[in-house]
């Protein structure tokens, strides 16, 4: 049981890493809300929030403060315990996924080696899938326990959307796994550093994965579960105060994590393209930090694309959404998988 044997330094290292990652997730999620408003404004020739602090940089803090001090309403006929459990689950499942993502190159200095990854398990990407599939419960429990038929309908809408889009997501991923031959996130990145990014070999797979990521994060054009204006605000209709904040926040954290997953799976993780950065002879600390910064740059780019899409493309109708998922994306990803499998077989013969 070497994994669970008590090693104080090991635990300290991991706890620090977890704390940093959670802090980072919160920070990024906070400023994604700000970026969302800013970019939305820019795309519409407006200026966006600029009153709180320089360039409106304190706007997320103000929003957070507002949410904290709002009155907390728990509907009388709701199921109290589950009503509180729902947002908590949404938040937890959003945060757990970050454990298996390699956030940067390992810090290697002589004998000490610190991986910038909480757990480099063999199941890496499968764990992400497991957690994502459990993430449905946050929505369903929240929607059901509100005891409101609109919340319930939105929750069911959201849950069936997430369940159906998990399939093409997994299938498009299999093509990637066929190329790397490992589910370990660190090995997937290492493979890309050696053989070039997966986006070059799997453009179709990436597009499918990206569309599914949009659907999993409930982002436009797939934001039916929470269409604010026309579908009654979705599963968190009865929520107020910080519980609502948790739901909204969890969505942004999901966005952040799925951007990180996409960057890791298809865009080489912390790799800088075209150059061999390990030959630059940087100090180990600088090297790790640089790789982390590179990953963050990719993540921020994806976050921008998420926002950009939201303010460009209109929402799907529900039947269109299901059609796209089941009748287009799944066959496409199956074809993609078959072609990849055949090519891998042929090339490795």
């Amino acid at each position: 049981m070497h994994l669970l044997a008590i090693d104080i330094w090991f635990i300290l290292e991991k706890v620090t890493l977890i704390a940093v990652i959670i802090g980072l997730s919160f920070f990024i999620a906070m400023y994604t809300t700000y970026a969302e408003r800013k970019v939305a404004a820019w795309l519409q020739d407006r200026r966006g929030p600029n009153r709180a602090g320089p360039f409106g940089l304190f706007q997320p803090l103000a929003d957070g403060g507002k949410l904290f001090f709002k009155e907390e309403i728990i509907p009388l006929t709701s199921n109290r315990f589950l009503f509180i459990l729902g947002p908590a689950l949404a938040m937890i499942t959003a945060l757990i996924t970050s454990t298996v993502i390699p956030w940067g190159a390992s810090y290697v200095d002589g004998t000490t080696q610190i991986a910038l990854q909480v757990a480099d398990v063999d199941m890496g990407i499968l764990i992400v899938f497991g957690i994502v599939s459990v993430g449905v419960y946050g929505i369903m429990i929240g929607g059901w326990s509100s005891n409101n038929k609109f919340s319930l309908l939105a929750a069911i809408r959201g849950a069936s959307q997430m369940v159906s889009y998990e399939l093409p997501m997994g299938l498009s991923l299999i093509a990637v796994l066929l190329m790397t031959g490992s589910l370990k996130m660190s090995e997937i990145v290492a493979h890309q550093i050696q053989h070039g990014w997966h986006i070059l070999y799997q453009p179709l797979g990436f597009i499918i994965f990206f569309v599914c990521a949009l659907a999993e994060c409930n982002r436009t054009p797939f934001d039916l579960p929470e269409a604010e204006n026309e579908l009654n605000f979705g599963y968190h209709q009865e929520y107020s105060s910080m519980k609502l904040g948790f739901y909204l926040f969890a969505e942004y954290i999901n966005m952040f994590i799925s951007s990180a997953v996409m960057a890791t799976l298809f865009f080489g993780g912390y790799d800088i393209p075209f150059v061999d950065e390990s030959a630059w002879g940087l100090s180990p600390l600088l090297f790790s930090l640089m790789s982390f910064a590179v990953l963050m740059a990719k993540v921020l780019f994806f976050l921008f694309v998420f926002i950009w899409i939201r303010w460009t493309i209109p929402r799907f109708r529900y039947d269109q959404l299901m059609n796209l998922g089941w009748k287009k994306l799944i066959p496409l990803s199956l074809v993609n998988m078959l072609i990849t499998a055949a090519l891998t077989l042929w090339l490795n013969k």
């Binding site: 049981m1 044997a5 008590i6 199941m123 599939s133």
Partner: protein, 173 residues
């Protein structure tokens, strides 16, 4: 100092407690949630046994897909505490007794079995890893694997056929 036994006991208690709550809670939604908790405990056991693949698959398949289906059905039927059909008290007692007897008999029978001294390998061992399992699955067990895919297909078709509304009842939408 080894924390494995503590984790084992924690997970076992969690599994048993959740299972009991699953059976005894009146509200079907609660039952589903308790069952999910049981599945998580069992997944924890799998991780403890280093059966990583099964642990994750257990979560994806059971917690992520099957229980979502259950929850769906229960929510759509709007089942709750009030509509829950109850057996009469004697039947319940007898059922519980019968289950208890089963447990008793099995425990009594297995108490002195010669497995007593055997140990299950905990924490190490590579047979639970996906590489090993996959190799075995696609070589020695490839026929059952393909058959199971056929089974899936037929289940899918079956569910679609059964779940489809009668043409007379279909609402034009």
């Amino acid at each position: 100092m080894n924390i494995t036994p503590y984790i084992f006991w924690f997970l076992s208690v969690m599994a048993l407690f959740s299972a009991l709550m699953m059976v005894t809670s009146r509200n079907p939604v609660y039952s589903v949630l308790w069952l999910i908790s049981t599945f998580f405990a069992i997944s924890g056991h799998y991780i403890l046994l280093n059966a990583q693949f099964l642990a994750v698959v257990n979560i994806i398949v059971y917690a992520g897909a099957i229980m979502v289906l259950f929850l769906f059905v229960i929510m759509l039927m709007n089942l709750n505490r009030e509509t829950e059909p109850q057996k009469n008290r004697w039947l319940k007692l007898i059922g519980a007794l019968a289950g208890g007897c089963l447990l008793l008999v099995m425990v009594a029978a297995l108490k002195d079995a010669e497995l007593q001294s055997q140990q299950a390998m905990v924490g190490t061992g590579s047979i639970g890893l996906i590489k090993v399992l996959g190799k075995e699955l696609f070589t020695r067990y490839v026929v059952p694997f393909e058959i199971s895919s056929l089974l899936f297909l037929s289940a899918m078709v079956g569910a679609a056929v059964i779940g489809k509304k009668e043409p007379a009842q279909t609402l034009k939408s």
